[in-house]
Symmetry: C2
Subunit: 247 residues, 2 copies
């Protein structure tokens, strides 16, 4: 198989405590998109109020120097993807987002644009879940029922955004995040899960993946102990096809 | 419509901090099942290790005075439900549980036994989610894909077990529980959600529903502000058919 042309910036969270929308990743966005990209196609489907969401994203990204079109303002969203120079899928509810991508027949077109045409893809939170092999490790409530949990499959593994370490002082008896990911790996044919703490993001260029941001990540692979990874870590091995399944 | 014969005890959580399995609800279980029930059919499908789970439940419930059969030990689980005197569905992962109930064709049979034959149904956590109209407000990760999010429909509303008040000191930017339930109610045709704090449980007898336990509950109805309810609160109005939808 040819090396996919994919270029992805998968962000754990759009807003970091104490900062504004996309505040903590402004520099990464700029160096990721570079000078060539002029306009970004924003996908606000994960939130209910799409007009307000597009307004927030537009203001922020225009400040960084990019024009923004919101896909919900097009009568033909597939055509909007076809003509886009770069795609940014924002966070919110992952089930709602994925259902909209299926309902509007956008899955194949986005895959084609990113994997074949090489246009840059940015996702934050739900938008990062949507980029992976499936949404099996979203934190969101299943408020709607998408036709499948399979997602865009731009990478052959899962992400858990907003990854949260167990709180040793908690008296709450609901499962910790780690416990929930272990439950996923109790099922057969399940994929590696990269737990991206808030403040972390994964940069993918072709077959190279690098951890960016400041907070590190925790990697869960079925049948193995979880491992800790610092900013700068090379995660390219997660992109190898042999890691697709670990049954 | 005739008054359903249902008798339900829907528990937020099986283990309370500092206590053992079912420790905090032993008295409620005893007075709910009474003297007539001799054996309970335990449903361990929400956990991966069903043998270990059945062993835990059996030890605990035998101490309270009941014999326990685990449904996973029967070659014909539908037949096991048909012959049961009482059903207890334990917690774990709600998606895994619901998928198993569909895969084993148990939905209709459990409904019939509870709503028509009037056998007592106990659920804890995922087992309480499964009793309601849908699992749209589970806290669990979607580790598997059930054929629908519609659940047993023994009551015409949703439950959020392990309900957790917002932590005002948190710097984590993931949605609070309340925010997640609001996201559910942004969708049309969505049902009331009863947030049962750990230590709370709902007793349903026919068309009467009463809050038990010590920690209270928070009720979310689409288009209204959430309301607080103390132990002893009468929730019978949630059982009225007119509350089925609030579009
Ligand atoms: Ca979310
Ligand atoms: Ca659970």
């Amino acid at each position: 198989m040819d090396v996919p042309r994919r270029r992805l910036l998968l962000i754990s969270n759009s807003t970091l405590h104490g900062g504004g929308y996309l505040g903590h990743c402004q520099q990464q966005i700029k160096s990721f998109l570079g000078e060539k990209v002029k306009r970004i196609l924003f996908v606000p489907y994960a939130l209910h109020n799409q007009d307000a969401y597009a307004k927030t994203a537009r203001e922020k990204l225009e400040n960084v120097g990019y024009g923004v079109d919101s896909i919900h303002e097009f009568s033909d969203p597939v055509e909007a993807v076809r003509k886009s120079e770069a795609i940014f899928i924002g966070g919110g509810n992952t089930f709602r987002l994925l259902k909209a991508l299926y309902d509007k027949s956008l899955i194949q077109e986005i895959r084609k644009r990113v994997l074949e045409d090489g246009i840059p893809y940015m996702g934050s939170s739900a938008g990062s879940n949507a980029a992976t092999i499936s949404i099996n490790t979203t934190n969101d409530m299943p408020i709607v029922y998408p036709p499948s949990l399979e997602a865009l499959g731009l990478v052959p593994f899962n992400i858990n955004p907003h990854y949260l370490d167990p709180d040793v002082n908690s008296t709450h008896m609901g499962e910790t995040r780690e416990k929930r990911i272990f439950e996923y790996h109790e099922e057969s044919n399940t994929f590696p899960v990269l737990g991206l703490r808030e403040g972390s993001m994964l940069l993918v260029e072709g077959n190279k993946a690098t951890l960016q941001g400041v907070t590190g990540a925790r990697l869960f692979v079925r049948g193995k102990s979880p491992t800790e990874h610092q900013p700068g870590a090379d995660f390219s091995f997660l992109l190898a096809n042999s890691n697709l399944h670990n049954p």
